[in-house]
Amino acid sequence: MSDFPEILNRFITEKNIHVYSMVKYCDIDRSTMYKIIKGTRRPPSEEIRDKIAAFMRLSPAETQQFEHAWQISVTGKVNYYRRKNAESFLLNFPAFSDMPGEFPGPARKPFSSKKECISFSDQNEFSAFFKYIIEQEKISGDGQIGLLMQPSFIPLLRSLIQPGLLDTSIHIDHIFCMENAEQLTETNDYRSLCYLGNLLPLFVNQRNYHPWCFYDDIQSHFCSLNLFPVLILTKKAVITCTSDCTEGILYQSPEVISMLWNIFDTYRSLCHPLFQVPDQNSICRIRSSSSPAFSGWSFKENGVHCYCSKNTVKKYISDLRLHASDNNLLNFSAQHFHFLKSPLAEASENIQIYAEDKNMFLHFKNTSGGSVYLDLQEPRLASALLDYIKNIEKDFLYTEEENIRYVKEINQKI
């Protein structure tokens, strides 16, 4: 049973709705109505939905619930929540997708720094040790950090971008697992998109960061009574711990460290890089002035479709004037432009996405204003973003007439 029939049934029972009269009111076939109620056919059209809602005399809050459930059923649950996740990723960028948690307390040196192994059994100790070994790694210069853990532990990622704690001289490799099935978490999240939102801040903050991924069932791989699936390695120390970073051991013995780095390197060789940095040529090609690529969110499919803010359009048109040629202007009219309303308009200025063929390029500014380009190598993540862009809700877009009026306005001003 999908969500829509569930809520419909609830209202029918709660409100003592007489189905037969409702059939009459909505003017549809009796058996069709029963199929809708039982969920054995697709949810009805928007029109019928609204008739049903009117007949049941729904309050505004109920109407909202009802329409929401309808939307989920029409879109499909996975699609619906994946799009929601894509939206919140884009809206939040470059902040972490969910807010809570910084590591409490400062770095703490293990009470005897020479000890070969020190166990811990709470998260405070873990975070103190973690900060300590990262600081040590920075001091040593030319450092190297290895992470084998899921990018869902925000406090840890947050501490990696803390100002001053790390710089570009330290190479960070991060191995993690991507869900191998197209499925949602218990909280209806599409995990890979949450991961993406958690990783990008490291690029924004100019870390020398390299994520690698492999596929598996995350829950059984990483959680559910696994001993120590997490490895955090530096040149001088290693932490192994449980998936929630609560119980674990800090090692400072050189032989242990080198054994664990061996494991880490072997694993890394079995993974795919999540991103590739595109070469200058392809960036130049995409950025060429005649293409609206990287103006907001765009994809190529029978010409380039572009979703962007009015500001971006204005800039784009005035740029075209600079290279004034009729060809370019002709070109412009052939493009499919869609103007975004706030808050998507702002979001499209924070991060630009361009999809062509099988590649998806991301573009955003780092903290010192430089441009970062990434070629997203993970196909399902790329298609999740693309699916969102292609299906942006009408409420977020200006209408065709509004677009034309705006373009004319700008043209006149220039």
């Binding site: 192994c117 059984s220 009574l225 120590f228 090692y251 013995s253 494991i263």
Partner: protein
């Protein structure tokens, strides 16, 4: 296309069989034959199968493959695989793998250390070293007072488990708690089956170790393998090994604080698992669990050495079975009365199928000893010839729904080692450990119960005697006993001679 029709088409092609002649030979409809060949209808009857097989002049190996494909098509691949697993489990009980272990002991590996290192943590990156460390720390734990061993790993390592099976105990009890993962995929995944896991664990009970397995469900492969850091662990009171699932890379710990932390973690995991077995501690507990099992089911299958005769025992014999000096004799006796009563009740409710050994019936006829009774009882009293006759005759006019079948090869060997009782929703195993103590294990895992139940219910009819055959032999036995009685001859001579 089914396995059967695939193979059949292959043979027809390879052997250039003329289908129309074959149709005539088999005496079936031409279109039916074509449907069989194309796999468009169910495989034919056994008789037709054998005719086809005969007409194609199959070699023994070919006809084995042919019959196997026939069976797979008939039952479905999934069921077929599961039944094979069950058969393997029963026939190989108890699976002890001595080979790998001894070969390791005799090999003189140069990289193997001489003694356990004194350091707080020592890394290793070869399986040989893992085995050495594991062996050392487990042995020293088994020698110590009240040994405690914790295992968080899959029972994949034949070395480790054969070592544990042959572990010498000092006399002081040694407890091993073992947490492992049962696959929760029942379909498709044949590479890892839970019955295999079970057969690897059981030998530990035979060794007399206080072994307690606990399990949780997950996907074994993603849980343990696939780029996981340290998913496995061995714990003793003084040492701990944390390592990768392939037991190659890991760390030996000797730091008391670390070991305390790991034990704590181990216990918190254990609390989230289910015990694999319920293990009773006394004869009375054994008995009440057996009855509980029998009571819960409407159909039960038993594989055991001797015929089950308990419900036919008359109450008057009970006091003579119990030794005069038995502690709490009164309590025990009243328990025995109620047990007998309960058994009779359940025997008239559920269908009971007993698969057992013919020679054990002979033995009972010759000696009058009810070996199915637990130790002190079976040793105390032998039934007189007259009592034996009375008991056996009751079988023929009983209200019980019992079905007796003699086992044939290959089960005779297995049945002498293992007693197995399986109903639709519960089961137990029973065997003698190496101190000749009878152990009962009540298995708690539904899928294993289901597989074994399905197997015994559909047991290959060629491996057992029919009910009529078996009962005919019971009659013969009674007649033989009557003859002996008449001749007033003590039944000391063996029946066969």
């Amino acid at each position: 296309m089914s396995d059967f029709s695939k193979l059949l088409s292959r043979f027809i092609k390879e052997k250039k069989i003329s289908v129309s002649s074959m149709v005539e030979y088999c005496g079936i409809d031409r279109s039916a034959m074509y449907k069989i060949i194309k796999g468009k209808r169910n495989p034919p009857s056994l008789e037709i199968r054998d005719r086809i097989s005969h007409f194609m002049r199959l070699t023994p190996e070919e006809s084995r493959l042919f019959n196997q494909a026939y069976e797979i098509s008939l039952t479905g691949k999934d069921v077929y695989e599961k039944r094979k697993q069950a058969e393997k489990f029963i026939l190989n009980f108890p699976a002890v793998f001595q080979t790998e272990y001894s070969s390791f002991c005799s090999s003189s590996s140069s990289e193997r250390p001489e003694i356990l290192p004194e350091k707080k943590c020592t890394a290793f990156s070869s399986q040989n070293i893992f085995y050495f460390y594991a062996q050392q720390i487990i042995e020293s734990e088994a020698d110590s007072e009240n040994g405690q061993i914790g295992l968080l790993l899959q029972p994949d390592s034949e070395f480790l488990f054969s070592f544990l099976t042959s572990l010498k105990l000092s006399g002081s009890p040694c407890f091993i708690d073992h947490i492992f993962c049962m696959n929760h995929f029942s379909k498709g995944e044949t590479s890892y089956n839970n019955l295999d896991t079970l057969s690897r664990l059981l030998p530990l009970f035979i060794n007399g170790i206080h072994y307690r397995p606990y399990f949780f469900y997950d996907n074994v492969h993603s849980h343990y393998h696939n780029l996981n850091a340290f998913s496995s662990m061995i714990l003793t009171k003084k040492y701990a090994i944390t390592c990768t699932a392939d037991l190659k890379n890991g760390i030996l710990h000797k730091d008391p604080k670390t070991i305390t932390m790991l034990w704590k973690l181990f216990h918190s995991y254990k609390a989230k698992c289910h015990p694999l077995f319920y293990i009773p501690n006394s004869v009375i507990e054994d008995g009440s669990m057996v009855q509980k099992t029998v009571k819960n089911c409407s159909e039960l299958y038993f594989i055991e050495p001797e015929p089950c005769l308990i419900p036919f025992i008359s109450e008057s014999i009970l006091p003579s079975l119990l030794p005069e000096d038995h502690p709490n004799r009164e309590t025990m006796l009243s328990y025995m009365y109620s047990y007998l009563k309960e058994s009779k009740k359940s025997f008239s409710k559920a269908d009971m199928h007993f698969y057992f050994c013919k020679n054990e019936l002979d033995r009972f006829a010759e000696t009058g000893i009810l070996t199915e009774l637990p130790r002190p009882l079976s040793d105390t009293y032998a039934l007189s010839v007259k009592e034996r006759i009375e008991l056996l005759e009751k079988i023929f006019n009983s209200p019980f729904k019992v079905h007796y079948h003699f086992l044939k090869e290959p089960f005779l060997q297995a049945a002498s080692r293992l007693r197995l009782c399986v109903g639709e929703n519960s089961m137990y195993l029973q065997f003698l450990n190496n101190q000749l103590h009878r152990s009962y294990l009540f298995l708690q895992e539904p899928e294993i119960i289901e597989i074994l139940f399905d197997y015994l219910k559909n047991i290959d009819k060629n491996t057992i005697c029919s009910e009529e055959e078996t009962l005919a032999y019971f009659r013969e036995t009674i007649n033989w006993l009557k003859k002996k009685e008449k001749e007033n001859e003590p039944c000391l001579t063996s029946r066969k001679s």
